[in-house]
């Protein structure tokens, strides 16, 4: 009984993705026929090839491989950047006593309350003034301040016994030596868990790349879907769109499935 209900739930939740796979494996004619096929066709590799080699106008004119590369670079830069600057600031806040410590802490905290959606125009202007439109820097740096990552590392560091620090000091280790030789190895699970979450966060960015990329060579795959759907005249090429959608969701889904435990840890620890 329980199993039955869960399986029904699973099927309902998986249904959209099943349809995506089906659409991505048929040709353009079959996809637009009613009734829609319920089983995958045999056009997978043909569509895959068409998608990667598409420079035709009908499909938007942006190579998918390039968009995926842009997405990958953006996701990696956001995840790495957030982790690096948050590790450093959490280290400073936990292990040093200095003037304005609390002030800095609160300033980082406030960024939680300013999602990009509420400061779209002025942030865009800042990036434009700095000449960072259509660059990887512009895509990533405005997003890499992270209150949640800083808090999470702060919690991790606070749970490390003080004796370690004392021992390191007696052995003559300076702060940066302590950071690299002791703190980093101890925090590696937290770092990995956070990396999984942030990679997904970075890969799935939409509004920000939409605003600051005007050159097609900087488009990301998630944005690419939108421009494929907008293909002006006539019906969109659904079989190619769905194939692209599949490519756009594959990397983060694979990350979640392969690193499930890290993912769950990252999700539950950053949110609380």
């Amino acid at each position: 009984m329980s199993h039955l209900i869960i399986i029904v739930g699973l099927l309902v939740i998986a249904f959209p993705v099943w349809i995506t796979i089906v659409a991505a494996t048929h040709d353009s004619v079959r996809v637009t026929q009613v009734p829609f096929p319920l089983l995958p066709g045999d056009q997978f590799f043909i569509n895959l090839k068409a998608m990667f080699s598409s420079r035709e106008e009908a499909i938007g004119g942006i190579p998918v491989g390039m968009m995926m590369l842009n997405s990958l670079v953006m996701a990696l830069m956001i995840a790495t950047g957030k982790i690096c600057i948050s590790l450093l600031s959490a280290f400073a806040i936990v292990y040093f006593k200095f003037r304005f410590r609390m002030f800095f802490f609160w300033m980082i905290f406030v960024t939680l309350m300013l999602p990009v959606e509420v400061r779209i125009l002025p942030t865009f202007e800042v990036v434009a003034d700095l000449g960072m439109l259509n660059t990887y820097w512009g895509l990533t740096i405005p997003l890499i301040a992270s209150a949640t990552a800083t808090f999470m590392f702060r919690q991790t560091f606070l749970s490390i016994p003080d004796e370690l620090l004392e021992a390191a000091r007696i052995d003559g280790a300076g702060p940066m030596r302590f950071f690299f030789d002791i703190l980093l190895p101890i925090s590696r699970t937290s770092i990995a868990a956070l990396f999984v979450i942030l990679f997904i966060f970075g890969w799935n960015q939409y509004l920000w790349p939409l605003l600051i990329t005007t050159e097609k060579s900087m488009y990301t795959i998630v944005m690419g879907i939108k421009s494929l759907l907008e293909t002006a005249d006539g019906e969109p090429a659904w079989h190619i769109i769905m194939m692209t959608a599949l490519m756009a969701m594959l990397p983060p889904v694979i990350v979640v499935l392969c690193m499930q435990n890290l993912f769950v840890k990252g999700l539950t620890e950053t949110e609380k």
Binding site: S2, L10, T32, L114, L121, Y206
Partner: protein, 295 residues
């Protein structure tokens, strides 16, 4: 708990926080300040002249019935998404919690939609509900329901709610299952021995004990529906038809970037900022209270 021992250095801690603080100042504080400043200005569409008008943008917004329509639409949208995704997740979590074999497999199968970008989720649903060739449209058609979200505002709203809910179920499910598994088994066994059936055990023990998590999720879901669903709406309906799915974030975006009403858009952003501050305060109040419980 704070550290009793610290490193001593006059400059190192500042250097360590510098990157984070720099990014915060340049890309968060300054733009937020600009946004507030701009909300007191009226600029003509070509940028030739700017006038400082105090609260005129706000009074204009707050007397505009269209703006209030958007506010209510946003609330309706957000609470529908929160309510639906929480209920479905609760149902699934309740059953997964009861079974022993295969729970891990089900968890795996239920959590991956979290990784799908909102825009992609939107694209999948818009394809299935496509008025001419969508598979679900064809099904509805056979019941005599001619679905067309491009013309019918109610159907457009339903579609964006479905897409946004679909994506959020995994997240809620994960937290609810964790909350349920934290309940001591002895409590549930004791109730079972006293003759309480599964439904009654759920209502009188499990449900009250997961309420704190439920409340936390409610706040998170509302924030999600307010801001992160931008992609879904942008790709599914573009705010239409006739603004039937235009939520606050979408309005701030389209008034600013497309309508070029910079002052009005900035005023909307500022109001949204106040909203986020309130929600964050509620969320942290709650987290603090929870910490008090456990200690």
């Amino acid at each position: 708990m704070l550290k009793r021992v610290h490193f001593r250095s006059s400059w190192l801690p500042y250097a360590l926080v510098a990157p984070q603080i720099l990014v915060t100042l340049v890309f968060f504080m300054w733009p937020a300040g600009q946004s507030i400043y701009q909300s007191f200005l009226i600029e003509d569409a070509f940028g030739f002249s700017t006038e400082f008008v105090w609260f005129e943008n706000y009074t204009y917004l707050l007397t505009d019935s269209l703006y209030f329509d958007t506010v209510f639409r946003t609330l309706f949208f957000s609470f529908s998404v929160a309510f639906l995704s929480l209920s479905i997740a609760l149902l699934l979590a309740g059953f997964v919690d009861r079974i022993i074999r295969g729970a891990m497999f089900y968890r795996t199968m239920l959590i991956w939609p979290y990784a799908v970008a909102p825009v992609i989720a939107g694209a999948l649903w818009v394809f299935m509900f496509d008025p001419t060739l969508g598979i679900l449209t064809a099904m509805l058609d056979s019941f005599g329901w001619h679905w067309n979200h491009r013309l019918n505002g109610g159907e457009a709203m339903a579609l964006v709610i479905i897409a946004a809910t679909w994506k959020q179920i995994s997240y809620n499910f994960l937290f609810l299952v964790a909350a349920m598994q934290a309940i001591p088994k002895s409590l549930i066994e004791a109730a079972a021995l006293d003759g309480a059936g599964p439904l009654r055990r759920f209502r009188t023990i499990i449900f009250p004990l997961i309420m704190p998590t439920g409340f936390f999720l409610l706040v998170v879901n509302v924030v999600y529906a307010f801001f992160e669903t931008f992609g879904i709406i942008h790709v599914v309906t573009g705010g239409g038809p006739a603004k039937a799915t235009e939520i606050l974030v979408y309005k701030a975006y389209s008034d600013g970037f497309i309508g070029l009403d910079l002052g009005g858009s900035a005023a909307q952003s500022t109001i949204l900022m106040i909203g986020v501050v309130l929600l964050t305060v509620i969320q942290f109040r709650y987290v603090e209270r929870q910490v008090d419980y456990s200690s």
